[in-house]
């Protein structure tokens, strides 16, 4: 079957921060560049990043990239690759200055320099005392970043394909990436984008969990495409969670609610934190609170018909205090939980927020596939990629920095490779067959499973078996169950068979990506028999031999999940930075 072929030097998939940043490098270097996005670029999920971007500018007080590097390695619980971390922290200042040149309206102090604010985990002098390192544009940092970089791309003649969904990576017989297939939603037309460089910047995949702060767009499309093309996924067991998202919606309830006197209760109305943290109680650290909530739910003391959430109670607080000190909380609770928190407690559950793992890359943004070999023509950056700077847990404000630094380096590496001047390699004869077959199967199937049911099955399985606090028996059951769920995903049926603007078909295609991420997560988590960073297991507790449950002797290594046979292999953590001494292993405590 013949389908249209669009020829570009480079194709970037995803138009959030990382995609826009890499496209600037490509277009400004004169490469003919296409950016594909499911939505208009300024509606990417980067818009949700409010906290700021970390850079040791030292505008308010002395700071140093080495201190930022130390904080990042420590935050990663030593699983981050120290060459990538050094690279990122060193490049942070340049990344912020570039943004300034693109017209980013950073907050400033009187002398005109960029204002910097303190943020959890940002310390000076190798963990000694807090330092002001976060640069922000009010509470709209991500939003302002997207607008500045989109405008810059327009100026540089980047060609945008908006409301297009990428379907599959195209690799030739030698494994070189030569393009992607994609579908234009407006027409339903499938097109082959023939390129000499493909950059994935498709963001996170938090929708695999029933409770997630991620927007609906975060379905792991890049990870699904990479996995289907034989690229392993790295460190997928590591996901950052927040303790209190509104049950059923995922909308975040700020931790300030507990700070103002909010109390967590189980189905018996018991203030259960008294048992887990007799002194700090509801003010215990995020990890401790999440763990306690999960344990209550696992042991059958959860609330509601499915006993799958706990309650955050502020009914004892003065309504005036709630309105004054916790603005927006009443609105969020009424609109997303259907309860007025002045009268009734808010149903909450630990909620997935950020994906640390992803498509394996080195710090230059080049994808490193099976056998630790660079995949020619393929680059990745941002939340979909794993450089790995976040390791087992991410330091606040490093996500925006990640997408700026690695978006740029992926773009630069692609430009460097493109300038070597090789012509477009031929598209293989079967370049589009797999994509066409998948779409045809979804279009034609009758008597199958609905997308709604399949997504519910994925997200419930993940939430119940691989949530914020993990148990060996649940992980084992979950690993078997997710493979059963996969069978339903292979049997998706859509009622709407229309060719044009068929959102059901797009959602079915997204679901085929979600299941790859879900399998990778469950199987990688089951396999890692230690606690580290955000991966915390009940059977790997804090002991003198293994502080925080971390076992460096056996588990100081990256997981690689291969779709083929759900095979797991490991590769060493790169402990050697580029120019400085290694940040030596030590127990992570704050």
């Amino acid at each position: 079957m013949s389908i249209p072929v669009y020829k570009f030097d480079a194709v970037v998939v995803g138009a959030g921060g990382a995609g826009l940043r890499s496209a600037i490098q490509l277009s400004e270097a004169g490469q003919k560049t296409a950016v594909l996005s499911k939505v208009f670029p300024t509606r990417s999920h980067t818009v949700a990043a409010q906290g700021g971007v970390a850079a040791s500018l030292g505008n308010s007080e002395e700071d140093n990239w080495r201190w930022h590097m130390y904080d990042t390695v420590k935050g990663s619980d030593w699983l981050g690759d120290q060459d990538s971390i050094e690279f990122m922290c060193k490049k942070a200042v340049e990344a912020v200055v570039d943004l300034e040149h693109y017209g980013m309206p950073f907050d400033r102090v009187d002398n005109g320099k960029i204002y910097q604010r303190p943020f959890g985990g940002h310390m000076s002098n190798f963990g000694e005392k807090p330092v002001r390192r976060a640069c922000a544009a009010a509470d709209r940092t991500g939003h302002a970043m997207l607008h500045a970089m989109y405008q810059r791309n327009v100026k540089a003649n980047t060609q945008f394909f908006v409301e297009w969904m990428a379907l599959d990576l195209i690799r030739d017989r030698e494994g070189v990436v030569v393009g992607v297939t994609a579908m234009e939603m407006e027409t339903g037309q499938i097109v082959a984008f023939h390129a000499r460089a493909v950059i994935f910047a498709t963001g996170g995949s938090g929708r695999i969990f029933a409770s997630s702060t991620n927007a609906f767009i975060n379905t792991g499309d890049g990870l699904g495409m990479a996995a289907r093309a034989g690229i392993p996924l790295e460190d997928m067991e590591f996901w950052q969670f927040h303790p209190t998202g509104v049950a059923g919606a995922g909308v975040l309830i700020t931790e300030g609610v507990r700070g103002e006197g909010g109390i967590l209760r189980n189905a018996d109305k018991e203030r259960f934190m008294e048992r887990y943290a007799p002194n700090a109680k509801d003010l215990a650290s995020r990890d401790v609170v999440s763990r306690a909530m999960t344990t209550e739910i696992k042991e059958g003391r959860g609330c509601g018909p499915n006993k799958d959430y706990v309650l955050l109670d502020i009914t004892h607080l003065d309504p005036a205090t709630i309105m004054k000190r916790l603005p927006g909380i009443r609105e969020i609770s009424i609109q997303f939980a259907g309860v007025d928190p002045i009268k009734e407690p808010i149903p909450v559950v630990p909620t997935c927020h950020y994906q640390m793992g992803g498509i394996p890359t080195s710090y230059d943004g080049r994808v490193v596939g099976a056998g630790n070999a660079v995949v020619p023509g393929f680059y990745a950056a941002g939340e979909c990629a794993c450089a790995s700077v976040h390791g087992a847990n991410r330091l606040g404000t490093n996500s925006l920095l990640d997408l700026l630094v690695f978006g740029k380096s992926a773009g630069d590496s692609a430009v460097e490779d493109l300038k070597k001047g090789a012509a477009h390699r031929d598209l293989p004869a079967d370049a589009v067959d797999a994509s066409l077959a998948r779409v045809e199967a979804i279009n034609n199937r009758t008597g199958g499973v609905s997308v709604f049911d399949a997504r519910q099955a994925i997200s419930r399985t993940m939430q119940d078996h691989a949530g914020v606090f993990r148990f060996a028996d649940l992980l084992q059951k979950g690993a078997a169950q997710i493979l059963e769920v996969e069978k339903t995903v292979r049997n998706l049926e859509i009622k709407d068979k229309s060719q044009v603007w068929n959102t059901a078909r797009v959602e079915a295609l997204e679901t085929e990506n979600l299941i790859e991420v879900a399998k990778a997560t469950m199987i990688s988590a089951e396999a890692r028999k230690e606690s580290r960073g955000a991966h915390v297991r009940d059977d790997a507790p804090d002991t003198p031999e293994f502080p925080n449950g971390r076992n460096d002797k056996e588990w100081l290594k990256h997981t690689l999940w291969h779709r083929d046979g759900n095979r797991i292999e490991y590769k060493p953590v790169r402990l050697d930075p580029l120019t400085v001494e290694t940040v030596a292993l030590k127990t992570r405590s704050y």
């Binding site: 509606r43 997630s212 609906f216 767009i217 059923g248 909308v251 609109q335 519910q456 068929n502 959102t503």
Partner: protein, 87 residues
């Protein structure tokens, strides 16, 4: 609204940058949009075209919408309660 236009609007409501806006617009589309007059439906499409933070500030009451044409729909979005029925 004809099918293709409605589907396009649906996509633009449930694939936003912010989860809060996905939910607020998505459930309104599922549950109330069909009861709007044709003129109101056009206004809703204009409202849905606003940027995510602006919409969220209006829906959460952190900012007042000053566009009198959009105001009635913002009020209806704000009055919605409970969780979303579609994932």
């Amino acid at each position: 609204m004809e099918r293709a236009a409605l589907e396009r609007l649906r996509w633009r409501c449930i694939r936003r940058g912010l989860l809060e806006v996905d939910i607020a617009l998505g459930r309104f589309l599922d549950e109330e949009f069909g009861q709007l007059s044709e003129a109101e439906q056009e206004v809703f499409a204009v409202l849905a075209d606003s940027d995510d933070l602006q919409l969220w500030h209006w829906i959460s009451g952190q900012a007042e919408c000053e566009d009198s044409r959009l105001l009635p729909l913002v009020a209806r979005l704000r009055a919605r309660q409970g969780a979303l029925k579609t994932p």
